[in-house]
């Protein structure tokens, strides 16, 4: 590991000032991504500014009913919060199905948004990777790409966004709150995660020194009838091959309200807007679910090793919708 220096800050302003002033500095939250990145030379920070003492770890309901999750709230604490379990089971489930208990105790929600792809070529500091080293090429295109994305890819990068909870948050139209030396910014989550296009190194709009302070989930009654379905080779401790975050409200057997987002198959947490549109007003049947799912995947681009994901993603959506539909009109 490269030599790094370390310091600990106690307030938000100092944290931002310290990192902003030093181009080689980075925030250290739970460290479950950051330390790995340094050890494998995928990132090159020389200074870690520990933000674990910052008072931004609350999980609370706002006057307007929105849920506000502090950036330093631990994944496990959020998953287990009764408020979250009751109002947004999809968030709780996405968290519980991620990583392992030990990791979830350390890992923060802010860090989760900024975790890096599991693409093996990104993580192999000597491989060609446009995301790690812009312009160097993409070994994944011709390499082992079973886990790679089929939606939102470009010829420069096909890396899957790995987060589970970000998928749930995307389905729910969460907002990412950011602070920097200039003040406060709020990004709708769908604008926060960027498609790779020609600049896969840019994964989000943050500038150096920008600190995520909170994630806000708007009050959304349909959230109560929601779930997260994660499909993977083994039963636990693995990233998704395909996942679906879904919330559904039926009226007289017809889809009145639906939220659907996909994980494991796209270069960013993928809001399935086409499927949502196709579903609204349709009868809650397997046929209309399958039609909508197919519609969502109609532009998917696969490689030989990940072709199955196009089919798998559809079946995952259908299963998620069917499961919620079977629970009846709960909201």
């Amino acid at each position: 590991m490269r030599p790094v220096s370390y310091s600990r800050v106690r307030d938000v302003a100092t944290a931002i000032a310290t990192v902003t002033a030093d181009a080689g500095a980075a925030y250290l939250a739970g460290g479950t991504t950051k330390v790995d990145m340094l050890r494998i030379y995928a990132e090159a920070s020389q200074r870690l500014v520990d933000i674990n003492d910052l008072p931004i770890d609350h999980i609370e309901v706002q006057p307007d009913g929105a849920l506000r999750i502090g950036a330093m709230a631990r994944m496990n604490d959020v998953a287990m919060a009764p408020l979250v379990m009751e109002r947004f089971p999809v968030i709780s489930e996405a968290l519980v199905l991620g990583a392992s208990a030990q990791l979830r105790n350390m890992a923060s929600m802010g860090g989760n948004m900024l975790q890096r792809t599991r693409c093996t070529y990104f993580r192999d500091a000597e491989a060609s990777c446009n995301k790690r080293e812009p312009g160097s090429g993409c070994d994944a295109l011709t390499g082992v790409n079973r886990g790679h994305a089929v939606l939102g890819t470009s010829k420069h990068c096909i890396a899957t966004h790995p987060s589970d909870v970000a998928v749930a948050l995307t389905a729910l139209d969460a907002v990412i709150h950011v602070q920097n030396t200039g003040g406060h910014h709020a990004y709708p989550i769908d604008d926060f995660f960027l498609l790779p296009g020609g600049t896969p190194q840019r994964e989000h709009p943050l500038n150096h020194g920008d600190l995520i302070t909170a994630i806000e989930v708007p009050a959304l009654p349909v959230g109560r009838n929601s779930l997260y379905l994660k499909v993977r080779d083994r039963e636990s401790y693995e990233f998704a091959l395909a996942s679906a975050a879904c919330a559904l409200r039926l009226e007289n057997g017809v889809v009145a309200e639906v939220r659907l987002a996909l994980g494991g198959v796209a270069t960013k947490p993928w809001r399935a807007r086409r499927a949502e549109r196709a579903l609204l007003g349709q009868p809650a049947t397997r046929e209309s679910f399958a039609r909508a799912a197919a519609e969502e995947m109609s532009d998917a681009v696969a490689r030989p090793m990940n072709e199955f994901k196009i089919e798998l993603a559809q079946r995952t959506m259908v299963r998620a919708l069917e499961t919620l539909a079977a629970r009846g009109d709960v909201s």
């Binding site: 590991m1 082992v144 080779d233 083994r234 636990s236 299963r319």
Partner: protein
């Protein structure tokens, strides 16, 4: 008379392990210790163009950068000989860093030594290497047209072609045949503890703290590689965090750590990284198999043709013996087995938990299931109809065989006869449920030479028993304490077993599930020799109550020698020794095993396995709900550790079926060389596992009749699962692992 053997005694090293007090080879703290890190090849084939050490040598804390141009040349590379022989056991007949030629990705090209691990790792990144590439073959697909029939495989012990009877004629007369082709992914061992050696020189004497299954194998291999006298090397193996075969043979790192320590005049620790574990200590090779089974109308096999194709290294004709056990599982007069190899740019493959048996029996046991289906026979029935009463090929009697009982008990536990034999009939929500079964078998192989132990009893009646074997997590130190206690007639807590040190009496590496059998034999011989010596002393001692008694009538309980018929006549070891003014007494025991070339018996551990699997065909998921295994391991030394071994094996079998596979990158490197990408089961995958053993007495294999349970339970699990997947869904799978995309 045995009181300790068989009891479910807790591990003697359990507390030290779970509290962290036990020191593993990469945790040995020595004054002045420094750290070595390997720099390995990115490419699978070619030459080093330029190896630039300028930056690395100037990095903070760096003491040395060793490579082919400055590494002192030593002795010669020993032959590839399984470590069960007890001699030098190089994992491949190649030692790196001798010239600039690159044979496989991951080949060590340089060793960086620095004062801390982090600094050594950082400096290793600063060794800049340019390569001259030459074309590489790293997969079966790439090398198919260069395949050749091996003259011999497996270090020369197994012919490349094995026949009995006339397979073609047998197939011609068959009423039904199946002809199936399989592909099995390469596997890596993935023990939790990565391999590591800490090397210390004192003058011309070398001590190695090495994580190995065979301390003496390390000793002899390093002696030959460095051309130093074996008497000048001591290998200490304290705690070992698993092996599964990757520490069965001796690879480059122990000798490299010694060379590095000599270069910097400091103790050196060399630990492989997790990634280096994928190219530093062998693997199970990728393999294709084709099997043709012919049977008459009653399901009796008329012929077996079983061919295997696999890549090996450029140095050695190695293939795991995938055909062996499958060839002697069933009575069939006509057999043809052929090993074909491809010279590839990988290291030499090696023993990997259940080397060959797990792969070959997957093929045999799933093919037999398909044959049963065609013949409309129950899968269990077809196995019984082909039950081998004697060893196929030799006609030798079995030293013991409880397979029929295993089938019967397993079928009872699984309620086998109650299942609807037709596939796809049982449902649980989104899950289709199915049951499958398969046979298990694993050879009992004696070690290649005498096995020794020393027993010493003190005047207070406590004893220490010494033998050089390593306990790499299986519980051998615990069971040897039990064997020693019974041999001496002492309570368990009065006996300590000292092990894992080549200064102690010699044993071969504990490999091939042979460890418990051979070490227990040595410990039994040593402890009973000491017991008999003390009884003889008592009988000869005028002051002893046992004076003049018939030694054959004397037994020992709780450290007290007494007449079998009149327990009140006797005295303790302590009384005898103290009266004689002896501080201790000692005996060396040597067990001379039967010849490796044959005992005149077929020697095998058998078992039967049943699996219940749930398949969600829509999402491609296979989850195992129940595993039932019944085995005939001969004498069970400790019910608890035996159960753990058997359960571990079955879970590895599940892993083989559904998860494990190392994938070759088009660039000729293993692409998933991490525990994140190479999947093994987690707790959430673990099904309900039920294990029983059937009583079998074996008087041939070793003094205590221990047949070995290290690996047998992995054989057949994958087949039982695949057969259950068929029963659930009606679909057969011929590729391992069975992944989501193949089930969809």
């Amino acid at each position: 008379m045995s009181t300790a053997i068989g009891r479910p005694v807790d591990r003697v090293d359990g507390l030290a392990k779970i509290t962290g007090a036990g020191r593993y080879s990469a945790e040995i703290a020595l004054p002045g210790l420094v750290h070595a890190v390997l720099v390995t090849s990115r490419i699978p084939s070619g030459r080093i163009g330029h190896l630039d050490t300028y930056d690395a040598e100037r990095a903070e804390g760096v003491l040395a950068v060793l490579h082919h141009l400055n590494l002192p040349k030593g002795g010669s590379v020993p032959a590839l000989l399984p470590s069960l022989f007890g001699a030098a056991a190089s994992g491949q007949t190649f030692f790196p860093m001798q010239d600039e030629v690159i044979h496989y990705a991951g080949q060590p090209l340089a060793v960086v030594v620095a004062d801390t691990l982090d600094r050594a790792e950082h400096a290793a990144r600063l060794v800049h290497i340019t390569y001259e590439h030459t074309p590489a073959i790293t997969t079966i697909e790439q090398g198919r047209d260069r395949a050749y029939e091996a003259e011999k495989i497996f270090a020369g012990f197994i012919p490349g072609r094995i026949t009995r009877g006339d397979a073609a004629a047998g197939l011609a007369e068959a009423a039904e045949t199946v002809d199936l082709s399989y592909h099995l992914a390469a596997n890596h061992h993935n023990p939790i503890e990565c391999s590591a050696t800490t090397a210390v020189w004192e003058g011309d004497r070398l001590t190695l703290y090495d994580s190995t299954q065979g301390p003496n194998a390390t000793l002899h291999t390093v002696a030959e590689l460095l051309n130093i006298m074996p008497s000048h090397i001591r290998v200490v193996t304290g705690y070992v965090g698993g092996s599964f075969g990757c520490k069965a043979m001796i690879w480059a790192h122990p000798a490299l750590s010694a060379l590095a320590a000599r270069a910097v005049h400091r103790p050196v620790r060399l630990a492989l990284s997790r990634e280096q574990m994928f190219s530093g200590c062998g693997h199970r090779e990728e393999q294709e198999m084709r099997i043709v089974l012919g049977a008459d109308r009653d399901g009796r096999l008329t012929a077996i043709r079983h061919h295997k194709l696999s890549p090996t290294s450029h140095f050695d004709d190695w293939a795991e013996p995938s055909l062996s056990v499958a060839s002697s599982m069933y009575a069939c007069d006509n057999y043809e087995g052929v090993y074909r190899l491809i010279k590839a740019n990988t290291m030499t493959p090696t023993f990997t938990r259940c080397p060959g048996e797990a792969a070959g029996m997957f093929v045999m046991e799933t093919a037999l299931d398909e044959l049963a289906e065609r013949l409309d026979l129950d899968p269990l029935e077809i196995r019984l109809r082909n039950y081998a009463e004697t060893e196929p090929g030799t006609g030798n009697p079995w030293s013991s065989k409880g397979l029929r009982e295993c089938y019967q008990r397993g079928a009872e536990l699984a309620r086998w006869s109650e299942r609807d034999p037709r596939p796809g009939r049982e449902r649980d929500g989104n899950w289709l449920l199915g049951w499958g079964m398969a046979s298990s078998a694993y050879p009992v192989t004696p070690p290649g030479g005498p096995q020794r132990a020393r027993a010493r009893i003190f005047a207070d009646g406590s004893a220490v028993v010494q033998s050089s074997f390593a306990d790499f997590g299986t519980g051998s130190a615990t069971v040897m304490t039990q064997v020693a206690a019974d041999g001496l007639g002492l309570p368990l807590e009065r006996v300590r077993v000292q092990y894992g040190d080549t200064d102690l009496p010699n044993t071969a590496a504990a490999v091939g599930s042979a460890g418990a059998g051979m070490v227990s034999a040595a410990v039994h011989v040593a402890t009973t020799a000491l017991r008999d010596q003390l009884i003889a002393q008592a009988v000869a001692d005028e002051r002893s109550p046992l004076h003049g008694a018939d030694p054959g009538q004397i037994t020992v309980t709780e450290g007290r020698m007494h007449l079998r018929e009149r327990p009140d006549t006797g005295e303790s070891y302590a009384e005898l020794l103290q009266r004689a003014n002896m501080t201790d007494a000692e005996a060396l025991g040597t067990w001379n095993p039967p010849s490796m070339m044959g005992t005149g018996y077929g020697t095998m551990t058998f078992g039967a396995q049943f699996a219940q699997v749930a398949v969600d065909p829509e999402l491609g998921l296979c989850r195992v709900r129940r595993l039932i295994g019944v085995f005939d391991p001969g004498r069970v030394l400790n019910r608890k550790t035996a159960h753990s071994q058997l359960m571990g094996g079955m879970l590895w079998g599940m892993s083989q079926a559904l998860l494990e596979g190392t994938v070759m990158d088009p660039a000729g490197r293993w692409s998933n060389a991490s525990l994140g990408e190479y999947l093994v089961p987690v707790n959430a995958d673990a099904p309900d596992v039920l294990i029983e053993t059937v009583e079998t007495t074996d008087t041939v294999v070793n003094p205590l009749g221990v047949k070995g349970i290290g690996e047998v339970s992995m054989v057949g699990t994958a087949a039982a699962i695949a057969n259950a997947i068929w029963h659930a869904t009606g679909r057969r799978h011929h590729r391992l692992p069975i992944t989501i995309e193949s089930v969809l």
